[in-house]
Symmetry: C2
Subunit: 283 residues, 2 copies
């Protein structure tokens, strides 16, 4: 691995995206590389163009980020760690904009939904665009004082916009969980609390999912997440993404995984990694 690669992190979105915010907070000193799609983030890591990929997998309000989960199943990459970003939406306008003169607001559909109360109060029309930072960039280009964008504070500085309002989200518990993905598997340090993530398909047997979870129950391994996603090309079949507390090397986890393996038709370990230190603050 070259010296330059060592300190690079790829994220999806334009400059100023919440994913870039997560990169800056979680990996200070890393050079951030914007990618157009989640797939390009995975590719950048896979082809060693970036040392790390920072991908959102779940928002505490909106739920899973489906594309990220699906790509975890497709690529042969590993999870190095997780990070919880507190999402704080800002209302951004052009230099000439005033909050009372606004007519329309642009952002990603999830951001619009998360600021529903604030938007309704003002009676603005909503316009869904591909991402929050993109909304800010496009607004700066149009330079329309009757329009605003909802995006991260970072975008004001990047695109020369004014912050018309801060923290406009309905819920102040709005948090996004990110995973840091890397090319090479690493074993997490021994003295820290860990999580392990994996993806499996159940065998075509009665009560398959129940049997898959049995090994975790009887070995006292705590599940933190179970998420199902459609199997591409096989309608109404599902991949299950599962997170549990512990690491592959722990005996109870090993026993649970042996049992799981028996009841699954496919099983892929995505990695054992330290639990984020800010995990409890966001609960």
């Amino acid at each position: 691995m070259s010296r330059t690669l060592e300190k690079t992190v790829a994220f999806q979105g334009e400059r100023g995206a919440y994913s870039e915010q997560a990169c800056r907070e979680s990996l200070p000193g890393y050079r951030t590389i914007p990618c157009r799609t989640f797939e390009e983030v995975f590719q950048a890591v896979d082809e060693r163009e970036a040392a790390v990929g920072m991908i959102p997998v779940e928002n505490s309000i909106a739920g899973v980020v489906s594309d990220s989960y699906d790509l975890l199943g497709v690529f042969q990459l590993h999870i190095l760690g997780e990070y919880y970003l507190r999402v704080r939406h800002c209302l951004l306008g052009t230099r000439a904009a005033q909050i009372d003169g606004l007519r329309a607001v642009y952002s990603h559909p999830q951001a619009l939904a998360q600021c529903r109360t604030f938007i309704r109060k003002h009676g603005w029309s909503c316009n869904a665009v591909y991402d929050t930072a993109g909304a800010a960039a496009a607004l700066a280009e149009r330079d329309d004082p009757f329009e605003a964008a909802i995006a991260a504070e970072l975008c004001a500085e990047l695109y020369g916009l004014s912050i018309l309002a801060r923290d406009i989200q309905d819920s102040h518990l709005n948090t996004t969980r990110f995973l840091k993905i890397v090319k090479d598997r690493s074993v997490p340090p021994k003295d820290v609390a860990c999580k392990t993530s994996l993806v499996f398909e159940v065998r075509n047997i009665p009560a398959a999912l129940y049997k898959c979870l049995g090994g975790f129950a009887t070995n006292g391994v705590n599940l933190t997440r179970l998420e199902s996603r459609p199997v591409p090309g096989t309608p109404w079949s599902y991949h299950f993404y599962l997170d549990f507390q512990g690491r592959l090397e722990d005996r109870p986890c090993r026993l649970a995984l042996e049992e799981l393996d028996f009841f699954t038709s496919s099983l892929k370990i995505l990695g054992s990694y330290p639990e984020a230190s800010n995990w409890y603050e966001t609960r």
Copy 2:
């Protein structure tokens, strides 16, 4: 219930949405009522402005329609039935448009994703808008021969557009599952195969989810779906939406539900209803 209410069905989206297509196929003879949001569909049924609401809950490729699931948990409505709609995307243009002259294509992000191969082949730029029918309506208004919309065939007739290509989706197994929701609970006929849907939160005990599924496993009740959604206001807590084969009145189902009740902190039955007759065709 008034005579006029009896034959009305509300759907989310503009005229020509895939949800309207599902209404026409599943409830022929019903008057269709377009609603701006999923919440308005639920409200229309709750306030008896429509006899039935037709809501998409899952696409075989994209996965769950989160908003629908969340609203099922919030409103006190009942599931009358399910319907599987084969999604067949069309490329629609203005009368003057030619497929080789197009530069940009507009549609809902899911529809754009589902036609990825076709769009990439032509090198068009993608523009995400709120819904497929809205993309068609807006295109008809702009009357721009260099742009196209991806939407249901129904939109060509409704908005005076030309069909430039049919069946442009990547997968021909692209199917959306709809639920028909009603105000009053009804008991499904005795001689048909049924499903039951419910939503629960697990108690804060070890191996809670495993224990919740135990009654179904030991009583031979087949689960067809398990989906988790964040609990609003309680980050990293989940509602589980569960579908199983059978009806509330069946003895094995009753026993499974009694056991489930013991391990849950909340449990809400959404309804027992006949399995869609076209359920197996879409597998």
